[in-house]
């Protein structure tokens, strides 16, 4: 069981090429961060994973099924995509209705749907907003509403597009906990983010993109300590890593406890 992207290129109908020769596999239960410059093609790439875009060259296979042979609605039962801008996704009158909407054509019992909706609300911390209008709640919470939709749907693969944007420390911690729980259940989470500390803290595998292509697919440590990749993809080391480099450490330090150990041994 995996998401396979095989030599995929994608061009928009107007001819603009947004992705070139993407090639990677994401296993079931794996957690991957996608980082890179604005306009590198990150969002286009993940839209290929859930069939919103179909490759113009190459194939995307979801558990062996080619996305070209299925509709977006069919694939989205397997691959949930949480939009970058929650306002592009939300359209119901209450938060609860937004979560329930995806089960409109579901064969599940009402009890099961209720159970899933309640659990998703709890895991994303939005219980207190369930009866409110989505546009009356803060942007950062609205993002959790859109995440909750797919947590309830229980898709085996979940894509989060910049979930960290605008989140405070509580929101960041809630995201990290949520990803742990989903991974514990064997679900894969693919996250686009510009928050480098969040990447270092929560992802062992990182895909770096620049200029429509994948330029590195490696551990967070190797990516952050490869200055060519950091420069080309417009990312940065987490601050502790930058400081470690400033003072001439070559131990690929990323975390505070590592730097502390290095400094107290000096």
């Amino acid at each position: 069981m995996s998401l396979e992207v095989k030599d995929v290129s994608f061009a928009y109908p107007n001819g603009y090429v947004a992705n070139e020769n993407l090639h990677f596999t994401i296993e079931k239960g794996e957690r991957v961060a996608i980082v890179g410059q604005n306009g590198a093609g990150k969002t286009t790439a993940v839209k290929l994973l859930n069939g919103l875009h179909k490759p113009t060259k190459g194939d995307v296979l979801v558990d062996g099924i080619n996305t070209k042979d299925k509709t977006v609605a069919q694939i989205s039962q397997y691959v949930g995509y949480v939009f970058q801008n929650p306002d592009d996704q939300i359209f119901n009158n209450t938060v609860k209705a937004e979560l329930e909407y995806s089960f409109k054509h579901s064969k599940l019992t009402d009890e099961e749907i209720n159970r899933r909706v309640e659990r998703a609300a709890e895991l994303t911390g939005i219980q207190q907003y369930m009866d409110m209008k989505p546009f009356d709640i803060p942007y950062s919470i609205r993002k959790f509403v859109t995440i909750a939709v797919f947590v309830a749907l229980d898709t085996p693969y979940l894509i989060l597009d910049e979930p960290t944007a605008g989140q405070d420390i509580n929101g960041i911690n809630r995201l990290a906990e949520l990803m742990d729980i989903l991974q514990g259940e064997g679900r894969s989470v693919i996250t686009i983010t510009h928050d480098m500390e969040f990447v270092a803290d929560n992802f062992s595998r990182v895909i770096a993109m620049a200029n429509k292509r994948i330029i590195a697919d490696d551990s967070a440590r190797n990516i952050f300590w490869n200055n060519d990749i950091v420069a080309e993809s417009n990312i940065s080391k987490p601050q502790i890593g930058e400081l470690a480099e400033d003072i001439g450490s070559d131990n690929k330090i990323l975390f505070r406890h590592e730097l502390l150990e290095y400094l107290t041994r000096l």
């Binding site: 410059q37 509580n170 930058e242 107290t264």
Partner: protein
């Protein structure tokens, strides 16, 4: 004289059961950069809306106490005069773009047209600001078809072009990559150097530590802490209040707890670097 002053300010949104801002007193000085931090939903954006004059004129609700902008109470300001004094960069760039203009150039010019700026002057200002923000290649694009990061730059450009004395900036870099973020902060720093007074809401705490002169922490509508940036962040207990603390400040605290404190408590990378290199050379000398 204070540039912006709040006296016993409380505010409640229409139909709300509790105050969104509770008895806030604060005096902002001209030419400083203020970081406004704290949990989401705690009142940071409401605070910005207040300074911008959107409260209560746009949102309604009950405002008590007084807000003085350049010595004049906010309820006495004409909204057009306020618009040419205070620029406001919204939190969500998807909201800020007007949606009615077909090119980025026209979008940036829109605010200036509304202020009645001469045509030649508009062209000059827009041309200079797109260069400053590195979006020259986008000027003929449709603003509604830009990426999140591009929209954020266009939103920023629209406000800088207005050349207001005060800038209220609500999370200007939430959609930007790290390089784009540091570009924006360089511009914010430059604006401060030009004498602008800046109120900045930002979750990227490392950047607040580096650029803000003073920090205000707002929680549940109250101003719970304020002071010089270095003083605020050397209190790591703020973590318990839902306030993120820069990793470098936490490192300084770790060193203190290990009995090897830095001579001065570092909150930024360059301060820590200086302290560590100093410690290293002391060791070699002895």
């Amino acid at each position: 004289m204070s540039y912006i002053e709040l006296k016993n300010v409380s505010y409640r949104y229409p139909l709300a059961e509790t105050d969104a801002l509770k008895n806030i007193n604060y005096a902002f000085e001209e030419g400083k950069l203020y970081g406004i931090i704290g949990e989401n939903g705690g009142g940071k954006t409401t605070f910005c809306d207040l300074i911008k004059g959107l409260i209560p004129s746009f949102y309604g609700g009950d405002l008590t106490g007084e807000v003085f902008i350049k010595g004049k109470e906010i309820r006495e300001w004409e909204s057009s005069a306020l618009a040419s004094t205070i620029g406001y960069i919204f939190q969500n760039p998807f909201t800020q773009i007007s949606g009615i203009k077909e090119t980025v150039f026209e979008e940036i010019a829109l605010g200036l047209e509304n202020l009645g700026v001469e045509r030649e002057e508009i062209i000059d200002r827009v041309t200079s600001v797109v260069r400053q923000l590195k979006i020259e290649h986008l000027i003929k694009n449709n603003p509604n078809k830009l990426s999140g990061g591009q929209r954020q730059r266009v939103a920023f450009a629209s406000i800088i072009a207005m050349e207001t004395d005060i800038l209220v900036i609500d999370e200007p870099t939430s959609q930007l990559d790290p390089k784009g973020t540091s570009d924006i902060f360089e511009i914010i720093h430059l604006l401060k150097e030009q004498g602008k007074t800046i109120l900045l809401v930002e979750h990227k705490i490392d950047l607040i530590a580096e650029y803000a002169d003073e920090v205000l922490v707002i929680k549940q509508g109250e101003l719970i802490t304020n002071g010089k940036t270095s003083d605020v962040f050397s209190n790591v207990n703020l973590l318990n209040e839902g306030v993120n603390i820069p990793q470098i400040a936490l490192l300084s605290n770790d060193m203190k707890e290990q009995g090897k404190p830095f001579d001065t408590f570092a909150i930024t990378r360059s301060q820590a670097r200086e302290q560590i290199l100093k410690k290293g050379s002391e060791k070699i000398c002895h």
